[in-house]
Amino acid sequence: MKLIQGNEACALGAIDAGCTFYAGYPITPASEIMEWMARLLPQKNGTFIQMEDEIGSIAAIIGASWSGAKTMTATSGPGFSLMQENLGYASMTETPCVIVNSQRGGPSTGLPTLPSQGDVMQARWGTHGDHPIIVLTTSSVLDTYEMTVTAFNLSEAYRIPVVLLLDATISHMRENIEIPKMEIIDRKRPVNIAGFLPFADETFLPFGEGEQKVVTGLAHGEDGLPRASDGENAEAMLRRSFQRMEDHIDDILHYKTEHLDDAEMLIISYGITSRASKAAVQMLRKEGICTGLLDMQTLWPFPEKLIKELAGNVRGILVPELNLGQMIMPVKAAVEGAVPVKSLTRADGELFTPGEIAEAVMEMTDSRVCVEVPKGNNQLNGGNHHA
């Protein structure tokens, strides 16, 4: 067991995932990730650089990824906003890289540095244009270690940039963790180096190996050459990238569940809020209200099918989040009006208490019939999921 901070767990996860290059710019509450990487990377024969700003930081990790490095940067809201243009470039050029955003209250300089979940929509839609992206989040120090490794694994496997959302509380809290042994995935190399098409699929060769490559943020063909006036090709390439996520959706979607077997009421939450939700579930069950929890670790692509399926088994859904109501929108879209969906929000830099969440669920139901059932008789009875 090791008592470590969330940001330290993120850095350790990155190192264990095989990260060899970090570029960043200091910002609270993410700076400790950078300090740990500055310390650890040179020990591992890797490279750390403090860039002149966050725009340069994400540019450098994309540049280094094309030299073959596994790369990461970390920031908070204002820096994440600055990174958006090049995040789109990473997506367009199918560049494996991990961008950590430890969320603090926004907009602008906002509440430095109180926790927030205000960047969940920006993480999906912050850069212009349709673009494939994977967004993960975490609710504990151990979770942060595991999701950091997962972020690298998914980014390397599918050549899609991965955003990992922490928040000021997760970043700075300390918990005892046992570092788990996790599978590490590296980017796939093509079978044939001669004639390799750099944008045909998820296989990858860095600069310096094989033939000269062309990389551009312009719409391009499988050979990488720009096809900036060929809209049909541009749309086909975009749809193909989305299809790659869809083809591996079971690998990409990570979530945890509690008491879904007998749940009449469902709490859907993510990140730091899931800790209070978990405690609220226990409080509610003692009150006789059969409540279950879906803790989303993958926010994007959104677990639409799962939520639609779960909505069929419950009488109401509560979505608590530390913003003015963001993930409630895709939840409502997935539920399609099948059951009432209620939003519980706060953006004052404070966390929810379990009591606040429990109370909000109680307001949604008169049922007091829940009987505690023994765990383990249903695969959705609790635990971690991904296929």
Binding site: K44, M51, A59, I61, A64, S65, F207, G208, E209, Q212
Partner: protein, 274 residues
Amino acid sequence: MPKTGQDLSKYLRQEMMPNVWCPGCGHGNITRGLLTSLERLQLPLNQVVVIGGIGCSGRTPFYVNTNAMHTTHGRALAFATGTKLGNPNLTVITTMGDGDTAAIGGNHFIHACRRNIDITALVFNNSIYGMTGGQAAPTTPNGEKSTTTMYGNIDQSFDVINLALAAGATFVARTTTFDFQDIPNMITRAIQHPGFSVVEILGQCPTYYGRINKLGDASQMLDYEKDLTIPQEYVSREEMIGKKPIGIFREEIRPEYTQQYQSIRKKAGVKHDS
């Protein structure tokens, strides 16, 4: 003296021809200079990465048959910094316009100079924003016209050479497209220099800068460049007035960034996993 009319076609990415540049554009002269340097240096083309920003100059990587990275506006040097650190064995060259260098990318430019990382920055300075239609650049001279300074530019222009010298670049040179035989000499020396190199090439944009400021066609603009510049080694203060010096302004050896990082690894005590 370099041969003219040399066949450099193997250094050109033929499938990208014809290029996007207007007739008479100076970027072709500069690109020919780069191709000539590649021929002289005989570097394996897959070990060279040419990284461009956005604008007319940003298209250069597409035309050079090396690895090419066409990035975002102003960020070429930040991408290049990652690429060089990720694999210091690669030869990394950036092609940037005056906007890339001194406006939107000014921050990256001065910090790359300060770090002395072994990258060659080619600055295509045509005093105007060409691709977007002739707006003022940070290098548009005071008093001159553009589509956003139709009454005359009240801004002072940046001198890219002084900027690079002040920020700490270790190889700093300026030439012009009039001195086209000098371009490959400068670029070759810059690539060979073990540190951050800046070569500013003053070039003509007859389509916008020339037309708006009534400087004539491409050949008349080359004459204008000749009259505007003066080799810096022969210049007295009086001769300098109203002129831009050309030549090599600094060539010095200072510890290079990726080399210095090796010593950081030693200090950190590189621990290899078994």
